[in-house]
Amino acid sequence: MSACPECLARTALLAALSGDVERRFHGRRPPALLSLDDEALISTVRPAGAVRRPDPARLADAAEAARRDHGIEAICRHDPVYPDRLRQLDDPPAVLHVRGAGAELLRRCGDAPGRAPVVAIVGARRAPDEGRLAAARVAAQLAACGATVLSGMAYGIDAAAHDGALRIAEAGDAPIGDGPLTAAVLAGGIERAHPSGLHALYRRILRHGAILGELPPGTTPRRWTFPARNRLIAALADGVVVVAASQRSGSLITAGFAADLDRPIGVVPGPTMDDRYAGSNRLLRVEGVRPVLDASDVGDLIGATLDQLPDRPPGDDAAVASCGTAAPAVVARLRRGPGTIRDLEDAHRGPPTEVLLAVAELEARGVLRRGLDGRLHLVRPGS
């Protein structure tokens, strides 16, 4: 795995011009911008000023330093590992930076027979709890079948999807040699987490999966780099599942890229009266977009058969049942959204002490947790 000097220079140029793109186009990227060649790109983005071209030797040193310090590999479009499907883009990235099980992930994105699929799960940052649970559940089911859950490590749905897959990876303690169960594509340099609040999630993904990005280490994410990142998610995945997107959500951009690339699109439906689902629900009207209720729908969507792998832990139903007579009722109630212990007692219709016991056991097993306001949230949705 390596990157040739020309491709490294191209990536360095993008990083150098990143701020100019932001200022000149007010955070929006003209559609064909990244497909321009170097000279055209410079004259478009910085017509007046000159750009100092970095020394190729220095770039190679920087790439070497990133590998040494952070374990970040640079893989350019001339490398055999570089996935062919990225070339379907009008503006494929010159270099992919990967960290963790990146090579394994890229191999999965190839066309080897019998490979496990890569499924993107994307959605809004300010997502309702039910949406997060749905994303985590589909992600966990996919991971239990050995598929890779690809997302953008944003707050909300993205984080929930990574988390769902990570719970399977962490529970199974499976080696990632046969492929990471989750991978995140970041909008800036991948040597650190952004948003920085998701640092803990970043570490977990790194331990059990892969982190990748187009821009070289140290690059600050800009507004325009997020949709640019979304094109990579769409291109790398076998299919895209959208969960809880409002009408202005960036995940609809991902869905748009997926449509352009003929990737199948699925949507986890939400309440029709809730604005926070309006964007994703509307996608269902588009021809070819299919509703996704669980992982088997995803399998149908991408034309793969998904079977529960023998070494993956099954769903949480058995665990829930062992948490007391009221536990199933408690979990069923919390799937509809967070609630107080009073709400749970109403849902159970049995002695309140049973609810108390079930909640204690479920919390002890990490199935639910109490929020700041004292309401109980489901952490693991069960299968």
Binding site: R126, R204, L356, L372, D373, G374
Partner: protein, 500 residues
């Protein structure tokens, strides 16, 4: 001629004996006060001058020197007016010198020569008794408070002239026939009956009162967090006389009460979130007790906990642990008692509407708020309960249980706990767990949901809940309830840091 009177100044909360020496001798007319007095002491000159004239006495046209001994002890307050005036009268021969060395004198004078109510009557009387004096001479409003000290003559005087007369009246005692200490303590504060809904918070208050556990209330504005906290002092058992005396002394010195005898109500203090560190724990060039000491034996309520200054909360940590505050200022050291039940309140999110559809906070805002909330004080808080908006039925529904019923259960639980400790001696709380409870606690701990400190805290909470249930062993239900009410924010943060 020289006159010498006894009085006391307050150093922190302690009385310190001061001798007021007045010397009147021939020379150019002058009036000087020496002996490390503050401004109020220096200004006594003008008050004494006017009071003497208005009471029909004469200021001798001679060289007057007043010394407050010991000269190294800083003295403050207007309480030296009366001893200085009386000393002048004795030294100039206008009043006979009887009883001077057997009576402690303290009081502030108005220009007309009337005695004004002042602070610190109780410590002055305590100082007089400890010094073996016969009586204390004070303003009439202070008599009831000074009378809390037994075996001491208490004399009240309305004016300087009455005070001059009372000085020589050996054996006079204005002590009221029965003191307030005999009155059965009555609870008059706000009642829990007024709070609608909030069953979980009510239960948490009861547990907090029974086991002296600190409490965090989280809920949107207007759901009754402050109302609930205000009702906590009324759930605690009445103060025994010893504690009531401590509270009276503190409040007397701080000027929160003047006269009125023994404090009956447990204090409730709710400092504003802008309060400085020294405002909370005490301080100043002359060390004064802070809010935590004013709340001694009662409740300290910190509303809007995340808004408090970090250094102020940091300063509260040690006193909460120790039950007292040590203030070091200018080489002087004061120790104030600070045994409080801490109640903190916070909104669930920056906008305050967390958990309702009105909340528009994103994950980033929530994360930042959470970090702010889990500041320096949170690991001192045992209980954490949400206060959701009460439902329409709860608002319209019948009134809740009243404070008296809860207070009775709290008192019973405390008695049960005392008896349990007495009968069984010191033993580890783990030994009280029954089989089911031990299993549940083990599972919580093994999964990493509990830190070692959190585990101890849970045990203490569960023990209190079992005491309320008058059960010698801690059952699985007691433990389950404790887990439901525990404060886990601090622990969760620790875990996240470990995971990262």
């Amino acid at each position: 001629m020289l006159a010498r009177l006894r009085t006391f100044t307050i150093d922190g909360l302690e009385p310190r004996a001061v001798a007021v020496e007045v010397d009147v001798r021939p020379g150019l007319p002058s009036f000087t006060i020496v002996g490390l007095g503050d401004r109020a002491v220096r200004e006594a000159r003008e008050r004494v001058r006017a009071a003497l004239g208005n009471q029909g006495y004469e200021l001798p046209q001679r060289r007057i020197t007043v010394n407050l001994a010991p000269a190294s002890l800083p003295k403050q307050g207007p309480g030296f007016d009366l001893p200085i005036a009386l000393g002048l009268l004795v030294a100039s021969g206008q009043v006979p010198a009887g009883g001077l060395d057997r009576v402690a004198v303290a009081g502030e004078l108005s220009l007309s020569g009337e005695l004004r109510p002042g602070r610190g009557a109780l410590p002055v009387a305590e100082g007089a008794r400890a010094a073996g004096l016969e009586a204390v001479l004070l303003a009439p409003d202070q008599v009831a408070e000074a009378a809390l000290v037994p075996d001491l003559g208490v004399r009240g005087a309305r004016t300087l002239r009455e005070a001059a007369a009372a000085l020589g009246e050996e054996g006079r005692d204005d002590r009221p026939p029965t003191t307030d200490a005999d009155r059965p303590p009555e609870h008059e504060g706000p009642d829990l009956r007024d709070v609608r809904g909030q069953p979980l918070a009510r239960r948490a208050l009861e547990i907090a009162a029974a086991g002296q556990h600190s409490l965090l209330l989280v809920g949107p504005p207007g759901t009754g967090k402050t109302m609930l906290a205000r009702r906590l002092p009324g759930l605690l058992p009445p103060m025994p006389t010893r504690e009531a005396l401590e509270v009276t002394r503190i409040h007397s010195v701080s000027g929160l009460r003047t006269g009125g005898g023994l404090a009956v109500e447990r204090p409730f203090r709710a400092p504003h979130h802008g309060t400085s560190a020294s405002g909370l724990v005490g301080g100043g060039s002359v060390p004064r007790p802070g809010e935590i000491t004013l709340a001694h034996r009662g409740v300290l309520f910190l509303d809007e906990l995340p808004e408090f200054r970090r250094d102020a909360l940091e300063a509260l940590r040690q006193p909460l642990e120790d039950g007292r505050v040590t203030v070091l200022r200018g080489g002087r050291r004061s120790v104030f008692p600070a045994r409080v039940l801490l109640v903190a309140a916070a909104n669930p999110c920056p906008c305050g509407h967390g958990g309702t559809p009105r909340c528009r906070c994103g994950d980033v805002d929530l994360e930042r708020y959470r970090r702010k909330l889990s500041g320096p004080l949170l690991d001192r808080i045992d209980l954490h309960v949400g206060c959701p908006r009460p439902s329409a039925e709860e608002i319209a529904g019948p009134a809740g249980e009243d404070s008296a019923a809860v207070r009775a259960r709290v008192a019973a639980a405390r008695r049960f706990a005392d008896a349990r400790r007495r009968d069984r001696g010191p033993r580890r709380l783990d030994a009280d767990l029954d089989e089911g409870a031990a299993g549940l606690l083990g599972r919580c701990y093994a999964r990493g949901g509990l830190s070692a400190r959190g585990r101890t805290r849970i045990l203490r909470l569960a023990r209190t809940i079992a005491d309320l249930d008058r059960s010698l062993s801690i059952g699985v239900l007691h433990l389950a309830e404790a887990l439901q009410l525990r404060q886990a924010i601090a622990a969760e943060d620790e875990q996240r840091e470990q995971a990262a």
